[in-house]
Symmetry: C2
């Protein structure tokens, strides 16, 4: 069995613990966590540690903490020349302290507290300093996902920014729509089938092929009617700029 220690207790750490628990080839020796309450329901309590001096010897250490804590946490690890990876999409591999062998274990997904997710479909991007470590990372990742990808730092950064667009920014479109519905006393629920279909469409069409609507048709009259209707300045600004972006169809503005 491959021995893994997870450092962190947030959403990513919790989901990893749950995913590894289902694999017979991975043994989660310990979780390092100063906030035990999120991990307690997932692991024997004697495996939850909160002091670096208690860290056991393992094949792989996965740092799943907030981006700005990665460097500090990796510097505090009281050992050398072991494989230490982090799970962030935007932090360089070099942020892992030089005393250990470095790598990346980046799951491209949004994790929500309390919401179960099928890890099997989640793409995991891997990077490492040397080929042997990469093979180990690959083995570990394949125990929980059938979608394992070798990336480099530039690709990972591009994926992370793209993830911000398809996840955070698309969600902001949902939030604004919710706000417009509330202002006009109509239920946001009505839009949910459309939200699902818009995402599902992408499984068979490219976003360029899937686009419809007044901006795509260059229907200036409807666009003006919409702008006249909107009262919130932020909505107007976003409506205008994204409409321009659709109209430009990928050409530089």
């Amino acid at each position: 069995m491959i021995k893994v220690v997870i450092i962190g207790s947030g959403n990513v750490a919790q989901h990893l613990v749950q995913a590894f628990a289902k694999s017979k080839e991975i043994d989660v020796l310990q979780v390092f966590s100063r906030r035990k309450e999120t991990i307690v329901p997932l692991l024997d309590s004697n495996k939850i540690i909160s002091s670096y001096t208690d860290v056991a010897e393992a094949d792989l250490y996965i740092i799943a903490v907030s981006d700005d804590a990665i460097a500090k946490v990796s510097a505090q690890l009281p050992f050398e020349n072991r494989l230490v990876v982090h799970t962030s999409g935007s932090v360089p591999m070099d942020s892992v302290d030089n005393k250990n062998r470095k790598g990346i274990f980046y799951p491209v997904q949004t994790f929500t507290k309390g919401k179960e997710i099928d890890f099997n479909d989640i793409p995991i991007c891997l990077e490492s300093e040397n080929a042997t470590d990469f093979e180990l990372l690959k083995k570990v990742a394949q125990c929980i996902s059938h979608n394992v990808i070798k990336s480099n730092e530039k690709q990972r950064k591009a994926l992370h920014i793209s993830a911000v667009f398809v996840n955070n920014f698309a969600n902001e479109m949902y939030r604004i729509a919710n706000e417009i519905c509330d202002e006009n006393k109509v239920s946001f629920e009505i839009l949910k089938p459309l939200i699902l279909e818009t995402a599902t469409k992408l499984m068979t069409l490219s976003p360029k092929e899937a686009q419809t609507g007044p901006a795509k048709r260059n229907d200036l009259q409807t666009i003006q009617t919409h702008l006249d209707f909107l009262s919130n300045k932020n909505h107007v600004r976003i409506y205008k700029i994204i409409t321009e972006s659709i109209q430009s169809n990928g050409k530089e503005l």
Copy 2:
């Protein structure tokens, strides 16, 4: 059986013909279409007409043409005092010519050529001038959907604009992400599970609750790293404005 004539041959008309064909209570007497080829596979050819003089007497006429053609088409109908509705989210009910009784039959969904869709889940917003007509519209709508809604013009307009945000604008976020992936030689496929999960999350959480990411966390360092990475001016502009929108969290900017 309720006798229905559909006027139009585009995506909405085609999907309506298919949905009504499954109902035993609706008889699609005719489809009026100048471009027969899209309708021929869906209906007996003797039911496809292309001259207004051939229009049969029916309980309901559904105009499913482009927004700017609705008024003209309804004016050309060679009869009076029958129930004539259109399917647009943004065109006023009054655009239907005064000689007939007016109504709205607006399905809140995106229809893609050749892509089948389960009409049963699609919300249909109804409006009419009088209560008897509303009851008929409701009966017809309920034959194909379990999600039938009474709306007024302001609510319908709000829904249509909100639909632009959750559908067209969210899709534009996907398109930009695709562009960023292409520029950095990484597959857009990797983001598809995230796109689906972002939409699926909305079925149990509000968009406000579902939000994550650097803008939500006010992680200024990651935001700056992303802005430095982006080379396309349009991407930079949209990244900045939506990040500000998320940071304002619904407060007027």
